[in-house]
């Protein structure tokens, strides 16, 4: 059985008219993509590229100026298309004065759940995101991370087959991010489709099947991770230590690049051959080889390549995982 | 050091207030006093601007009016120029405020001797609160006591009696008609007394009304004879010798009977008539 199309957009465009003189601002220009059921799609781009705009169009917060989109075959203009979507907004906000279960129950009712089912499911989902301890606190007392978790909880509350998440890792500490990553993978394993946006490329590299890169409102690249990355070895990195200071210049001359670090020296070579040679030399001089690592193109480098080849000078951020 | 600065500011401000307040005391008393009635707002304009709270605004202006009426006793010499304008404001805001018409009306004539203004506001009251009998009653009083318009007073008194369903006031109305001494007033008074008789519920009142009716009829007759005598005197330059002369010269159809049961007596030397039972026509004499 071929997988259904969970999400599809066709030349989606959005132009705003801002200010007194109503000057046009193009937020989105001809975006077309397709997400298959059961996959994880990563939507990357710098801030202001149009990621949030796309997502808000998909969930009905914004009306598109041009083009169309559909969710599981239903056009987004139809409010019932949102029945099967779980949406996590960027920096979600909830009514301060409510407690987490009350928040979930309100959202659940709006999605058509009710009664004992809703209560049970709310408890489950609260447990799932690790907020059971906070059940008696009002949202006003939540930390940013807790709010983010609650946001995830309300997104999965009604067990939707498609999850649309805007910056799901934002505001979380490393443990939190790992938890979310694990949750996403688990959801995918259970057959859900995930579409999430982020400006942190590292998150995408580790979880997504397909990636879409958007820049200044246009989709500049789209495809599987493997297809996007140029798989060939770009360079080989050699790390060594224990050599005399004078040797550095010699080593440096053989390599593309070299630097001194607190734990040793790092050199990069254009190919494995050159690196091997240099490694032999280190050993013969009495030093030790700490690591020899072939480097393939990272998503970041791919992004920069695409961005600069496109004539744009935008740079993605590279927060550490 | 910041704490000390705040404390100093506080102390200084408190001292300033404590010293200034007593110095401002006389001004505080004077505040809110209405100096020039020309500066008072128009009632109609206030209504428009009242944001739906015209009744409350009427009450607030009424309190102002009450204070205004009381002031001359504290600071004598000040007139009551603003009383009528204030009354107009209150009754423009709430045309149904019967008590305001009454108090302002009675004080305008009694306290301030501004009878025409009093009449105006009382008449406005009669138009807008037709079932409040004190208003036509006060008008009757104004007409009688200040303006000498006895016919008018009698008419208003009848209105008060009718509106207030107080047949006793018919007695007052009848007296006023007697003072007015016109044929119209006598007719009106008799009709009204008849009406009141129908509504009279106690025997005592009934008797009073009947007695008054007799008096009115008697005075009516006396009045007719007096007028005939005047006409004779004008024509012949002398009073008639006997009442029959009036009949002969066609000024009276016949010698009228005395409704009070006595006879009409004529004194040729004084040229005056009287009823043998009730005496001469003396409307202001306080008797039955």
């Amino acid at each position: 059985m071929t997988a259904r199309t969970a999400l599809e957009t066709e030349s989606l465009g959005k132009t705003y008219r801002l200010g007194l003189r109503l000057r046009s601002v193009i937020a989105l220009d001809g975006l077309s993509l397709r997400v298959e059921e059961g996959s994880i799609f990563g939507f990357v781009g710098p801030n202001g590229a149009g990621k949030s705009t796309t997502i808000k169009i998909l969930v009905g917060l914004i009306a598109p100026s041009r083009g169309s989109a559909s969710i599981f075959g239903r056009p987004i203009a139809d409010p019932t298309s949102r029945q099967v979507v779980g949406y996590l907004p960027e920096n979600p906000a909830f009514h301060d004065f409510l407690r987490p279960l009350e928040v979930l129950e309100l959202r659940g009712k709006l999605s058509g759940l009710g009664g004992r089912d809703l209560k049970r499911r709310s408890e489950e989902v609260l447990e799932l995101v690790g907020l059971s301890q906070a059940r008696d606190l009002t949202v006003r007392k939540f930390s940013k991370g807790m709010v983010q978790r609650l946001g995830l909880a309300q997104a999965v509350l009604h067990d939707p087959p498609l999850l649309i998440l805007d910056e799901p890792m934002s505001g979380l500490d490393p443990i939190g991010r790992k938890d979310v990553r694990d949750l996403l993978v688990d959801l995918r394993r259970r057959g859900k489709t995930l579409f999430f946006s982020t400006h942190i490329l590292n998150d995408v590299e580790t979880t997504c099947d397909r990636v879409g890169m958007v820049l200044k409102g246009r989709l500049v690249a789209e495809g599987s991770l493997a297809a996007l990355l140029d798989g060939s070895v770009k360079s080989v990195e050699l790390r060594c230590a224990g050599l005399a200071e004078e040797q550095f210049a010699t080593m440096r001359a053989m390599a593309l690049d070299g630097s001194r670090g607190p734990e040793g020296w790092t050199f990069s070579f254009a190919d494995p051959g050159g690196a091997n040679q240099a490694a032999g030399r280190v050993l013969s001089l009495g030093g030790s080889v700490l690591s020899l690592l072939p480097l393939r193109e990272t998503l970041e480098q791919s992004f920069v390549r695409l961005a600069t080849s496109d004539g744009q000078a935008a740079a993605p951020s590279t927060a550490n995982a | 050091m910041r704490g000390a600065g705040t404390a100093a500011l506080l102390a200084l401000s408190a001292a300033a207030v404590a010293l200034a307040r007593p110095a401002l005391a006389p001004e505080a008393l004077a505040a809110g006093r209405i100096r020039d009635p020309a500066w008072l707002p128009s009632g109609k304009l206030l209504r428009l601007a009242s944001f739906g709270q015209r009744l409350l605004l009427a009450d607030l202006y009424w309190l102002k009016t009450v204070a205004y009426m009381g002031e001359p006793f504290l600071a004598p010499g000040r007139g009551l120029d603003a009383l009528h304008p204030l009354g107009e404001i209150v009754t423009d805001l709430d045309p149904r405020y019967g008590y305001a018409y009454q108090v302002v009306g009675s004080n305008l004539s009694g306290l301030a001797h501004r009878v025409s203004e009093s009449d105006r506001i009382l008449e406005k009251g009669v138009r807008n609160v037709p079932d409040r009998w004190t208003l036509p009653f006060l008008l009757a009083f104004n007409k009688f006591f200040y303006e000498g318009d006895f016919a008018g007073a009698a008419a208003w008194a009848r209105r008060a009696a009718e509106v207030g369903k107080r047949p006793q006031l018919a007695l007052l109305a009848a007296n006023l008609a007697l003072v007015a001494n016109t044929e119209d007033q006598y007719q009106a008074s008799i009709s009204f007394l008849e009406l009141s008789l129908q509504q009279a519920e106690t025997l005592e009142l009934r008797e009073q009304l009947e007695q008054r009716m007799v008096k009115v009829r008697t005075y009516q007759v006396l009045s007719r004879v007096e007028r005939a005598i005047e006409a004779f005197r004008a024509r012949n330059l002398r009073p008639p010798l006997v009442l029959e002369e009036l009949v002969w010269s066609g000024l009276l159809p016949r010698i009228p009977a005395d409704p009070s049961g006595g006879t009409i007596e004529y004194d040729p030397w004084a040229g005056s008539v009287r009823s043998s039972a009730l005496g001469p026509r003396d409307p202001l004499r306080v008797t039955q």
């Binding site: 907004p89 979600p92 909830f94 709006l110 058509g112 946001g151 | 009744l55 309190l63 108090v103």
Partner: protein
């Protein structure tokens, strides 16, 4: 319908838990009690001052609450983005607006009951009899709910597309115009110029006739108000509010939530 009611219930909960109303209500109640003292300043006819202060303060504070809380609760949803995850659900924009409206009317209704109760106690304390209940009390206070509904509807309409400050200004202006219009209407109708009569007919549709929805005089003077008159006026008020809410739903449906 359950979705709409869920939003309505949440709106009431917000108003209560956020203590938005308490200060105003306490003030209104204190004012009514103070009227007992103020009434001593007049010669005679003290009852009407007490009745007027009670009804006027209930009405004025009720209108202020309707406008300020109405604007706040709708604007807050959008500014603080609490609405985002709600509007992304299969609930239509119209349901959302309707839910807010119902919740707000319920809130001001609750308010009204508290203030009416306080007024009744104050009047009872003065008159020592309950006859006022039969002469205009329920008409005077009951019809205020229709006035508040109109204010809430206008507040929701303007808050759905404008900034909170402007929304308050627009709403209060329209409500004020509604009061002025009800006073000036008979004069314009009696005018000789045809244009005035036409203007009145146009404004009859645009402006809310707040004077029609006002029955404070019934309590002050003890006028009897027929059930039919009461019901018709209530219908007018809620009808006008309904049209405004429908308009607000339309406006809100076309709005981009950025």
């Amino acid at each position: 319908m359950t979705r709409t009611l869920a939003i309505a219930a949440n709106t009431v909960r917000e108003a209560l838990r956020e203590r938005l109303l308490y200060n105003l209500v306490i003030f209104a109640v204190l004012l009514s009690a103070a009227s007992l003292t103020v009434s001593q300043l007049t010669l005679g006819e003290q009852y009407r001052i007490i009745a007027d202060v009670s009804t006027s303060s209930t009405q004025l504070f009720g209108i202020l609450i309707s406008v300020f809380v109405g604007v706040a609760l709708v604007s807050r949803e959008i500014d603080r983005r609490t609405a985002y995850a709600m509007l992304a659900r299969p609930v239509s924009r119209a349901d959302f607006i309707l839910g807010k409206f119902i919740g707000l009317v319920a809130t001001v209704g609750l308010n009204l009951v508290v203030m009416a109760l306080a007024s009744a106690l104050v009047i009872f304390a003065y008159t020592r009899s309950a006859t006022f209940l039969a002469s205009g009390f329920f008409a005077a206070f009951g019809l205020m709910l229709a006035q508040f509904a109109v204010c809430v509807a206008l507040a929701v309409l303007f808050a759905s597309f404008s900034t909170p400050t402007l929304a308050v200004i627009f709403t209060l202006t329209l409500v004020g115009a509604g009061f002025v219009f009800s006073e000036i209407r008979p004069f314009w109708l009696a005018s000789d110029r045809v244009q005035m009569k036409q203007l009145v007919h146009v404004l009859d549709f645009v402006l809310p006739n707040m004077g029609l929805l006002d029955a404070k005089e019934a309590l002050t003077y003890g006028d009897p108000v027929s059930l039919r008159s009461f019901a018709t006026r209530l219908a007018y008020g809620f009808g006008y509010a309904g049209v405004v809410v429908a308009l607000a739903a339309q406006v809100f449906s076309r709005r981009d939530i950025r």
